[in-house]
Each structure stands twice: as C-alpha cells, then as structure tokens.
Symmetry: C2
C-alpha cells in the first residue's frame, strides 16, 4: 500500500511537457456517460473486419490511465493479434478444461472432490459443451476476436487484481465509445489460474500474473436496445 | 464461470418495460471519454459540503451497470454516510495497523518475519505515520469523505474481486463526470483482509467479502491540469 499520503502530488521536477490543460468544454455530461455505461455490453458477435490501429491504441491508452495502488503504475499490457497466437489461447483454455473434466470424472476422486469442491461440478456441463463445440470448430472461448488484450502485473504488486480490473473497465468503455466490440475472457483467466508451470506466460514472454483478458473485434451489428439489470437491492 | 455460451441473450419472457432504446445521439465521443479518463484523479482534497443525493444515486447506478462473470449480478453495495460509521471505518483501519506495527516490531518475531514477509517492513514507516497523524486528529484513511461506498460479493462468487473492481471504475468515472471527488480506500481494504473474525462486516450487516471501497466527497477546488503517466512500455 501507498506511502503517498500527502494528497495532491506536487513534483517540482515534474517535466512541464507532461502537464496538460483539462478541456472541460468537451467533458461528457453525466447523462452522456450513463448512456454509454448502460449500453455497453459484452458483444460476442464479431465480423471478420480488422480493428483500426488507432482504436486499439486508444483502448490501451484508456486502460493505462486507470488508477493504481500507491501510483505504482505496475500494470502491463500484451496485445495479441497474430492468428496462430489467438488460436493458441483458445486451444490452451480448452486443453486445460479437458484435463479438469478428466480429473473431475475419475471414479475414485469423484467421491472426494464432490465434497471438497462441489462448485466445480456445476461447471462440468459448461466445460463439456465448450469442448464439444471446439471439436466441431466452434470457438466459444475467444470467438472471432481479432485481438486479445492481456492485462498483467508483477507478482510483487499486492493490488494486482484490483489495478488490472480497474484498467479493464476503462479500456472496455473506450472500446464501446469507439464502436469496437469487446468481452471479458473469464474462461481464459480460469485456465490461466491452473497453469502452475506458467507455460502460457513463457510462450508470450510475460513475467507476472495475468489478471484480466479482453477479446476485441468489430461488431457484426449495432445494438438498438439495452436492458435493465436486476434491481440494485438495499444499499444502506 | 459462465454457462451463457450463446452470445446474445434472448429471453422471450424478458419484460418489455426493462428494455430501452439506446440513444446514440447523446453517446460521448471517444475524445470526450478520453478527456474524462485522463483528467479523472484521486481527489483527496474535500470540502465540508454534502454530496447531492442524485449524484450518489448515479454513481451507484453506474457501478451496478458493470459486467459480472456469468451475468451473476452478485455484486452488492453499502453506502455509509453516518459520521459515527465513517469514524468507525478510520478507527478500525488504524487499529488494525497498530496491531501490525506491534507484531512487526516484536524483537523475536522480527528476525523471522523480515525473512518471510520483507515487503511488510516497507510499509512500516507509512503505517507509523498514519498512526501518528491519527492521534493528532488527522484522518489520512478516509480524510474528509462524506460517504464511503463498499463493494462486496458473496463468498461463492469466484470472480468477486474482478466484478467488484469493474464496478468501482464505472462508479469512479461517473463521480468524475458529476464533479464529485473520489479516491480508492486501499488502506481500508488492506485492514479488512486482516479481519478474520469479520468484526467489521458484522457491524455493517455485510454478508460477503468487501473487495473495493470508495471515499466520496465534494472537491475543494477544480483541477486545471492533468499529467501523463509513465510510458506504457512494450505492448506486443
Ligand atoms: C469477470 C468476468 C468474466 C467473464 N467471462 C466471460 C467469458 O469467459 N466468456 C464470455 O463470453 N463472457 C464472459 N463475461 C461476460 C459476461 O457474461 C457478461 O458481462 C454478462 O453476461 C453481462 O452482460 P453484459 O456485459 O453484456 O452487460 C465475463 C464477465 C466478467 C465480468
Ligand atoms: C487499489 C488501489 C488502492 C488505493 N488505495 C489508496 C488509499 O488507501 N489512500 C489513498 O489516498 N489513495 C489510494 N489509492 C489512489 C492511488 O494512490 C492513486 O490512484 C494513484 O496515486 C494515481 O493517482 P490518480 O488516481 O490521481 O490518477 C489507491 C488506488 C488503487 C487503484
């Protein structure tokens, strides 16, 4: 945690070219932002179009501007666009789930595992379906994403998961405003948490822990509607 | 993880009053959003003014609209505004740090602890300073925040920290657009992670794990400038 206890950070040595005027005249109103926030959604219907380079840059820049604990700025990004690499991500995820399915269905183990990790069995049908679809050539992991953004932090960052997910949400709102489709790759993150030997990280030269992953592509169509969430429930 | 594998969610039973048209005419442009994202900052200089109720509602609504793994929507909010409760949060945090300071400085333990958790000793000066300032009546934990928003999830939510921090960032951008000052209460979260007996949660009737906390108040002044982050570094 932070040692920056003084509030406003004033560095007399802070280079002037890194200081910029805030242009409040182009600030979005809260109504504008709310419309964006309400219509943001996980859009998994992606076309074959490429994502414009400037859009990717803006998504990265937005993510990079998120706050970090103690202003460590120890959040890093890996953007993967190579088709072989993208395929590797899906295959890696499915292979991890296949191992899990096997483990969970081993007769002797089943009796014990059902007791100590009952939730795992809830996911069995989902894992099985992902696997079957994968064999048919349907990628339900990253779908038709043309890019995957991995967000990671060094092991020493004790607020790594917080920092990375704050960055994710900034990036995802930016994608929405740019008309770029995105969704959270939670299945990939689940598989990564099983990868004790860090095979995945080594392949991509990532030194740290991947806490969040975003699938990106161009949307097949524009949504016309948004729907409400469940009621927020009691808050005080 | 999710079983929602179908992409677009179509519920024939979805009540029509919960479906709304997206008004793209008021969508913020990516430049507008970027200006907001770049000028958002942890504003710890707060006045004694109260936060308008409608602003708090919009911050909550924005947080509540963030995505959740498998669309569980199992992210809950507790908004604390009562001055005694706010004081309790600071006192609780400082007391936890006092215990830590004692533990870390116990002569016999020190030798061992320095080996197994060297990072903890990095925080000692910060903890000490927080404690000394607290004794002088200076609250460096929640400062002059008029409200604290706790974001929590049930224990069963395996993506609790992710879901809660995605919600945090949505709420924090909304606060920024409303001219409400906010900062992340990481010290409080650190203290909470030590609270094995859940004394804090019981006091506030919270059944679950608190993953993120936001201090809120009205800003003493409007910032004129924003500063750049460190360079983003290699991304591919
Ligand atoms: C932590 C997390 C993990 C997720 N993992 C996946 C995933 O692996 N695959 C997927 O298609 N969607 C995934 N999602 C997207 C959710 O299913 C989606 O956010 C939820 O259904 C709400 O819909 P919305 O984002 O359109 O509002 C994930 C979301 C979160 C927050
Ligand atoms: C996970 C996390 C925990 C934080 N904890 C604290 C805190 O306890 N007290 C505080 O004053 N600021 C806290 N901050 C705010 C950071 O110090 C701040 O985000 C960072 O210095 C960057 O400045 P900015 O938010 O103004 O861009 C925290 C930020 C994050 C992301």
């Amino acid at each position: 945690m932070g040692v920056c206890l003084s509030g406003a950070v004033v560095h007399s040595t802070f280079p002037q070219e890194k200081v910029h005027k805030i242009d409040y005249s182009i600030y979005p109103t809260s109504e504008q932002l709310m419309m964006l926030i309400k219509s943001r959604r996980s859009n998994r219907a992606m076309s074959n179009a490429m994502i414009p380079k400037e859009s990717l840059q803006m998504i990265l820049e937005a993510a990079h501007r998120a706050p970090t604990a103690s202003n460590s700025q120890k959040v890093f990004f890996k953007l993967i666009e190579n088709p072989d690499d993208l395929k590797y991500i899906s295959d890696f995820t499915i292979k991890t789930f296949e191992k899990l399915i096997k483990l969970l269905q081993t007769p002797i183990l089943k009796l014990i595992l059902k007791r100590i990790m009952p939730e795992a069995y809830k996911y069995l049908p989902a894992f099985n379906r992902l696997k079957i679809e994968h064999e048919k050539g349907n990628d339900l992991i990253i779908r038709k994403a043309k890019a995957v953004l991995l967000i990671y932090t060094p092991k020493s960052n004790r607020f790594g998961k917080e920092d990375a997910n704050l960055a994710y949400q900034n990036g995802s709102l930016m994608a929405e405003s740019l008309g770029v489709a995105q969704f959270y790759l939670g299945f990939v993150c689940s598989a990564l948490s099983q990868d004790k030997k860090r095979v995945f990280n080594k392949r991509f030269g990532i030194d740290g822990t991947i806490h969040a992953a975003m699938g990106l592509g161009m949307p097949l169509f524009k949504y016309e509607n948004f729907t409400d969430r469940n009621d927020i429930g009691p808050i005080s």
